[in-house]
Subunit: 207 residues, 3 copies
């Protein structure tokens, strides 16, 4: 990746992570758009799939660079864990959007839209928190607090929606579909929280 050639060594990782989190925010925006512009869901799913492939390549580049670097800006296993969890976020955004199309869902629910909104907020906070890694960690912890509070809210919506499904949805096949979609959406936010935990750990070690 020649574009990094002139930047001092340590910053290449920060730059690579920044590209990765910006790609994640793109994916989260598309997921939200999908649920708010439902007739276009198939075309939007294709775009998410493409973004997810780009994410795979970006992860691969970081791992490759990691394996070739003697000196890293923070612990090797934290770089690996961070890259892996960021990759998981996009995989799960893709899995959620793919299920919506694969299960022939005919209209989105308010809860699904609510979760997609929270996912976008959480991904934006991940993007901002990662940006602080190369930047003296200022205001870093407020992004982590924000992600934790978004995760609690996502949990609440997901649990209430599944509870409601079990009370009101009489068609078991519809119940199976929506239960899995809600759970997949919740997992995206859980992964954002895992990312926040890794970042906190990195900051603590380097404080």
């Amino acid at each position: 990746m020649p574009m990094f050639g002139l930047i001092p060594k340590e910053e290449k990782f920060f730059e690579m992570f920044k590209i990765m989190t910006q790609n994640i925010v793109e994916g989260a925006k598309l997921l939200k758009e999908m649920l708010n512009n439902f007739p276009e869901r198939q075309a939007i799913q294709q775009k998410i799939k493409k973004i997810e492939h780009e994410g795979d390549n970006q992860t691969h580049e970081i791992i490759k660079k990691l394996n070739k670097s003697f000196i890293t800006p923070f612990d090797r296993e934290d770089i690996y864990a961070l890259a892996a969890t960021l990759d998981d976020i996009l995989d799960l955004i893709d899995a959620a959007s793919h299920r919506i199309v694969m299960y022939n869902i005919d209209h989105p629910t308010p809860a699904a839209k609510g979760l997609a909104f929270i996912i976008l907020k959480a991904c934006e906070s991940v993007d901002k928190a990662v940006a602080k890694l190369g930047d003296k960690f200022e205001h870093f912890s407020e992004f982590c607090v924000e992600i934790n509070s978004l995760e609690n809210e996502g949990d609440r919506i997901c649990h209430e929606s599944i509870s409601e499904l079990f009370q009101n949805e009489k068609d078991p096949i519809q119940l199976i579909k929506w239960k899995e979609i809600y759970e997949t959406l919740e997992k995206v936010i859980d992964k954002c929280e895992d990312t926040a935990n890794i970042l906190e750990s990195v900051v603590l070690k380097n404080a």
Copy 2:
């Protein structure tokens, strides 16, 4: 945590793990109580939730201490893995009890009670095995053997119960509910076995 201030460095981790496993045993006792005192299930679920939050804080304290410690009583990655797997045990106890309430289960099954009994036994063995970490590992392996045999028994009950559900439960929504509750209960015991594997690995390295 000033209460650890006068204890020699290494033992703080042992003390912190002991507090964590005692908390887990509390959670497992409440899960068993919930299934045997079913009218009180909602109140007991609230108590389990509180114990799970305490577990989160305890895990966080260990990770924080780990990140700040230059010298650790055993390998850094094993301390991390042990804290993470102990945290998972309580998360899964909470997830199981939460599903019982969320899914509006109206009576507990003998299999669920049997699994809760095994979970408590396994958590007590985890507590005893962790206590041996700071104590020359005497009688250590018998706790690991015990956990492995509890895991086999838990597996058997879970598989038989799910097999029976598929044979006799005609209501697919009931089947979905109980299948997931059994699987979540089984995962608690699997996590106890993961913990035993990590402990065995630690003992082997330090023997």
Copy 3:
């Protein structure tokens, strides 16, 4: 394990991994046989269970050896990750075959047979790629490319089959059974891909 006594130190790990991957290929062969010789499924499931137990022992031996070795042929954490992911492959082959019996499936589908075929191909590639670890990595990357392409094909079959279930299967309990069997079969191939990723990382570090 006295059979390794005369072989130079580093090669013992390679030898142990080779035994492990050959065992995995045996398991994959039995899974394919099960689906093509369905009246014998219970007896074949017993054989798979036995192979899975052997795999557990092999994993345990590698971890034990790892914990006792000061010098290892490649990074300690990669040996651990490789052993764990190989163990997972067999666990999932066992889980898939066990569900086929436990769920009282009365006939195999073409998609299940297709997935079992791909699983065998992927396990054979894992076996060949692992064999290259001790052998200057020649033709190594072609096995990894092969595993990636098998994983894409497995994904496609699995997604199409589940999509079809949601369109045509009117019995929700049948849908639950087959959805989980397809997903478990897909997870086997995903684990083969995880293995390929670990192997690529090892080769990159040691190139």
